[in-house]
Subunit: 224 residues, 2 copies
């Protein structure tokens, strides 16, 4: 029996953790059934058994694993008969794509999404989110919201390498969707869950890729 601890907004149905999306996509690809335990930012006690305070946490029978990449590696090792994700034999250049996503793309999305995420949290989570995120950003959520046009322009500029890739390949992994698509699509699902306007540009190769990847992995099959 697999249980995933997934971050939820004030509305239980709202999920927006990119790292939880990564695990949910992996479970979908591997065709593994699981139940979700919803946690909120302030529910640190619910995760205490994992020895740390961050989602995703995956409980697989008596195994407890945190960190999304380690969870993907576990799923491949533990369920070798279902489709392989390949997280433990990723190429160096796929690792680069992942580090770019985690260290650059997420930061760019966060500057746009943070005020919208805040608006969709429970009052207790709002207090926690505001104080931790304003400390990280070095400014108030209102200040970051006022700068939105420049953050959107920055995101569009930094998506250029992805547009280059998707002008010459159908999927981020090449001819078929794979681990690279899981990584970037997870970031995009977070952005779409939080931000009430489209982040793709007209005639954007990213939009065409999203259509293809959404057909493969529809949101209704991801947020169980």
């Amino acid at each position: 029996m697999i249980t995933l601890y997934d971050l939820a907004g004030a509305d239980d149905r709202l999920r927006f953790s990119p790292f939880c999306f990564r695990v949910k996509l992996a479970l979908l690809i591997k065709g593994l059934a699981y139940r979700v335990e919803r946690v909120r930012f302030v529910d640190k006690d619910k995760l205490a058994f994992s020895g740390q305070g961050l989602v995703p946490v995956l409980v697989d029978d008596d195994l407890v694993i945190s960190d999304s990449w380690k969870i993907l590696q576990h799923l491949d090792q533990h369920y070798p008969a279902s489709p392989q994700l390949g997280a433990d034999r990723a190429s160096a250049s796929l690792d680069f794509l992942r580090f770019w996503c985690d260290r650059a793309l997420h930061a760019a999305i966060f500057r746009i999404a943070a005020p919208f995420v805040h608006a969709q949290l429970t009052p207790e989570d709002q207090t926690y989110f505001r104080s931790t995120r304003e400390a990280r950003l070095g400014k108030t959520l209102e200040a970051i919201a006022a700068e939105r046009p420049q953050h959107v322009a920055h995101l569009q500029l930094m998506l250029e390498p992805l547009r280059g890739l998707l002008s010459t390949h159908a999927f981020i992994d090449g001819a078929a969707p794979g681990l690279g698509d899981v990584v970037i699509y997870s970031a995009w699902l977070w952005a779409e869950a939080a931000v009430p306007f489209a982040l793709r540009e007209p005639n954007d190769p990213i939009a065409a890729w999203l259509d293809r990847v959404r057909q493969q992995w529809p949101l209704s099959a991801i947020n169980v």
Copy 2:
């Protein structure tokens, strides 16, 4: 007989085109002898035979090829017995690394390097470089030089994914140097040729990688 048209500064020995470095590294890896024809920015007539105005241009007997990636593909196809670069069978994620280099890293280096490049050109090239680059930047070279601290900080931030990769792999291609290393090292050689201060940070995994890659491909073997 192979001839490479390579961009030179006022001093013939100064070379700083990242796309020319890419080709020179490819020729080094494949062990192919070649001669260099030095061109300057204003020498468009010297390149007219190639049907366009940009370096690198490679002349291989009666074949004329511009665009560094097409040159790499040509070298593999034409010289299959020497070590393969793999440019025509690059993975999608290596293409991403290349697009990131061409569309993001180069732009970040350019904002730091431009005033230093300008100072090292012939008077005719200085006039050409100033007018074309100030139009591209939307500001004067002096204005971009005055903003240098923020451009250096931006570069350091955007190098984070590369640091992630090089914390877990010896080379950008993984265990051994390859095409990804050629791409990023070429950008770095340009930065080092132009900028009179080190762009790596203390304890930077990029610095350790540079030591390894420089041992493999020393500058003295690249600028023939």
